[in-house]
C-alpha cells in the first residue's frame, strides 16, 4: 500500500527567487502531482493604470519586472502605437532592438548563473554574476540606470546612441564571445551538469503546443517559434532571426532542464550577432517621431480603441492589451500577460515523475521573473556593514553613472 503526502514548496523557499507555491503530492521521493498557487505578489498594477495617462503608464509598466522591464515598456508602447497608428522612425526602432538584445543578454546570463546555483555549481554562479556586470554597465552608460531604463517613449526612444557607446558595445560583444565559453561548455560538455539536468522536468513538444508554452521553454521542447521571426518588429524586420532549438545542436529536443539551459546560453551568442547587425545597419535620422509630450498626450486623448502589443521578451512572448477612450486622459483598461503567466500553466506537467529534490531546479528552469535588489548594503574593509539612506543611494548611483560616462564607455 502506498501513502502519498502533500508538501508545499513556497511561497518562501530557499530554492526560489520569487514567491510562488507549488503543492506537490509525493509518493516517497517521487512527485505524483503538482498544483500551483500564484498571486502572492499580485500588486494590482493593471488597476492602478486606470487612474494614469498613457505616458505615466510607461513608467508604471517599467516597474512590472526588474529584469525584463524594457520588454514590458515596449509591449505597452507598441499596444498604444497599434491603436493610435503612431509610426516610429527607423533609428528609433534600431535603438529599441538594441536595448532589447542587451536586456536579453543580461537576463540569460543572470539565469545561467542562477541555474548553476540550483544544481550546486556555486563557482559558475559567481562567474555568471560577475560576467553580467559588463552588460549592466553598458545599459547604465546608455540610460543612466541598471534597471528601469526610462528609454522608450511613444514614437521612438528618449536617448540616442553616441559613437562612444557604439564602440563600448562592440567591445562588450568581443568580451562575451571570449569569456562566456564556460557556460557553453557546461551545457555542451560537462558530464556532471548533463547528468544532473538531462531528463529532468520534461515538457514534450506536443504538450508545449497544447499548453501554449512560450519562449525558451517552447523552443527547448523543439518548437521553432520566435516572434522576431513570425511577426517581425523594429529592427528584426530588416534581419533574419532563426529560433534557437536544441535539435540543431544535440540532434534531438528533449524538452528538459538541460535543453532550456542550452537554448538560453546559445541565445546569448545569437543576441551578440544581432547586436552587431543592429550597429552595422543603424540608420541616420531622427530617433523619435514627436518630442513634445503635450502634443503626444493631446493626440492620444483623441484616440479610441483597443491595441495589442506583442514582443519576444527574454522569457517568451510578452502580450499587452490596452484600451483608450476618446476624450479621456487616462487609460481605460490594460491587460498584461507576462511570459511566465503563459509558461506557468505547463509547470505542473514538468514535475510529474521527478524527484522532490529536483523541484526547485524545475521551478527555476522556467526562469520565473526575479527582481534585482542591489546597492542597499555595503561592506567596508573590516567586514562591517552599514545601511545607506535613499538620498545617499541616489547620490552614489549618479556618481557612478557620471564616472562611467566620463570614461567614455571604458566600462571596466
Amino acid at each position: 500500500m502506498s501513502t502519498t503526502y502533500k508538501v508545499p514548496i513556497g511561497p518562501v523557499h530557499v530554492g526560489l527567487k520569487e514567491p510562488v507555491t507549488a503543492w506537490l503530492t509525493l509518493d516517497g521521493e517521487r512527485i505524483m502531482d503538482a498544483k500551483l498557487r500564484l498571486g502572492a505578489i499580485h500588486r494590482g498594477i493593471e488597476f492602478m493604470a486606470r487612474e494614469r495617462n498613457p505616458i505615466q503608464v510607461i513608467y508604471l509598466s517599467e516597474r512590472i519586472c526588474g529584469i525584463c522591464s524594457f520588454s514590458h515598456v515596449l509591449a505597452f508602447i507598441r499596444a498604444i502605437e497599434d491603436l493610435s497608428a503612431i509610426k516610429v522612425p527607423p533609428r528609433g526602432q534600431y535603438i529599441r532592438s538594441l536595448v532589447l538584445e542587451l536586456e536579453r543578454i543580461h537576463s540569460h546570463i543572470l539565469w545561467s548563473g542562477v541555474a548553476c546555483y540550483s544544481i550546486g555549481f556555486d563557482s559558475a554562479f559567481h562567474l555568471g554574476m560577475e560576467m553580467r556586470e559588463r552588460v549592466m554597465d553598458l545599459l547604465e552608460l546608455l540610460t543612466g540606470n541598471r534597471v528601469n531604463y526610462g528609454v522608450a517613449t511613444f514614437g521612438g526612444v528618449r536617448w540616442d546612441i553616441t559613437p562612444e557607446f557604439a564602440k563600448a558595445t562592440r567591445d562588450m560583444i568581443k568580451f562575451y564571445r571570449r569569456e562566456f565559453t564556460p557556460f557553453r561548455d557546461i551545457v555542451m560538455e560537462d558530464p556532471i551538469a548533463q547528468a544532473r539536468m538531462r531528463g529532468v522536468g520534461v515538457l514534450t513538444k506536443e504538450e508545449a503546443v497544447r499548453y501554449s508554452a512560450v519562449g525558451p521553454v517552447a523552443r527547448a521542447s523543439g518548437l521553432r517559434v520566435d516572434l522576431r521571426k513570425s511577426s517581425p518588429y523594429e529592427a528584426y524586420s530588416d534581419m533574419p532571426v532563426e529560433p534557437v532549438v536544441p535539435q540543431d545542436y544535440f540532434g534531438a529536443a528533449h524538452g528538459d532542464v538541460l535543453d532550456r539551459f542550452a537554448v538560453r546560453v546559445l541565445e546569448v551568442y545569437q543576441s551578440l550577432d544581432l547586436l552587431e547587425k543592429i550597429l552595422d545597419g543603424l540608420p541616420d535620422g531622427p530617433f523619435v517621431a514627436e518630442t513634445n509630450l503635450n502634443k503626444v498626450l493631446a493626440s492620444l486623448k483623441k484616440a479610441e480603441g483597443v491595441g495589442w502589443g506583442i514582443i519576444e521578451a527574454p522569457r517568451g512572448d510578452d502580450t499587452h492589451i490596452v484600451s483608450l477612450k476618446g476624450g479621456e486622459d487616462n487609460v481605460l483598461w490594460w491587460k498584461v500577460r507576462a511570459p511566465t503567466y503563459a509558461s506557468a500553466v505547463s509547470w505542473p506537467l514538468m514535475f510529474r515523475g521527478n524527484e522532490l529534490a529536483d523541484a526547485p531546479l524545475i521551478i527555476n528552469s522556467l526562469d520565473p521573473c526575479v527582481s534585482c535588489m542591489e546597492r542597499t548594503l555595503t561592506t567596508n574593509a573590516h567586514g562591517d556593514s552599514n545601511i545607506i539612506t535613499k538620498q545617499e543611494l541616489i547620490k552614489r548611483c549618479r556618481e557612478k553613472t557620471d564616472t562611467l560616462r566620463a570614461r567614455g564607455g571604458e566600462t571596466r
Binding site: 526602432q93 497544447r210 513570425s230 511577426s231 517581425p232 495589442w308 500553466v345
Partner: protein, 184 residues
C-alpha cells in the same frame, strides 16, 4: 476534442485575405465586425510586417469560431482581456495562427459581448488547456462563469478574498473606494 487534433504548428502560413474570406463564408452574419490591424517595422517605416484580425462574433458562434480556427493551424492562446461596458462585459480572446513562417503570424482576437443577466461562457479549456489560468482570472476579476472549466479556484486573489467583489467591474460589484489605499 483537442486530443483528436494533431498538436503541431504548420510550417507554411495562409494569407490573411484567405483567412478573412474563410471566416466570413463560414460564419456570415455571426461576424458582427472584422477589423485588420497592420504591424509596421523596419527601415521602411510603412512596410507592413504582419497583421492582426479583430473579429467581433455573436456569443452563440464563439465556440464554433474557435474550433474553426484549428482548421488553419493549431491555435496558440495568449490571454483573455476584458472590460465592464455597462450592460455587458466585453471579452477579448487573443490567439495566434502560423507561428513558424517568417512574417506569417496572424493574430486573431475574438471579441464577444456577454450580458450581465447571464454571465456564462463556454470554456475552451478542453481545446486549449493553456487557457486555464486566464479563464480563472476572468472568473475572479469580472465574475464570468466558464462552463466546463474543471478547476474554478481563485488564482491571483488572496485566499481570504470576499468573492462577491469583482476587482475589474465598474458597477456595484466592483471594489468600493474604502478598499483602495492610496500610497504616498
Amino acid at each position: 476534442m483537442s486530443e483528436s487534433i494533431e498538436a503541431v504548428f504548420k510550417k507554411t502560413a495562409v494569407k490573411y485575405e484567405d483567412v478573412i474570406d474563410g471566416l466570413k463564408e463560414k460564419f456570415g452574419s455571426d461576424i458582427i465586425k472584422l477589423d485588420v490591424h497592420e504591424r509596421f517595422g523596419g527601415s521602411d517605416e510603412n512596410a507592413v510586417q504582419s497583421r492582426d484580425l479583430w473579429v467581433s462574433v455573436n456569443l452563440s458562434a464563439f465556440r464554433p469560431f474557435v474550433e474553426y480556427l484549428f482548421k488553419y493551424d493549431f491555435v496558440n492562446f495568449h490571454v483573455i482581456s476584458g472590460d465592464d461596458t455597462g450592460e455587458n462585459l466585453e471579452l477579448n480572446y487573443h490567439f495566434s495562427l502560423f507561428q513558424r513562417a517568417r512574417g506569417g503570424r496572424i493574430g486573431v482576437t475574438a471579441r464577444v459581448s456577454v450580458p450581465k443577466s447571464d454571465l456564462s461562457m463556454p470554456s475552451i479549456f478542453d481545446l486549449l488547456p493553456g487557457s486555464e489560468y486566464s479563464e480563472r482570472e476572468i472568473r475572479e476579476m469580472l465574475g464570468v462563469d466558464f462552463v466546463g472549466l474543471p478547476n474554478k479556484a481563485l488564482i491571483f486573489l488572496p485566499e481570504d478574498w470576499d468573492e462577491e467583489i469583482k476587482p475589474w467591474r465598474r458597477d456595484e460589484t466592483g471594489p468600493s473606494i474604502d478598499l483602495v489605499r492610496e500610497l504616498e
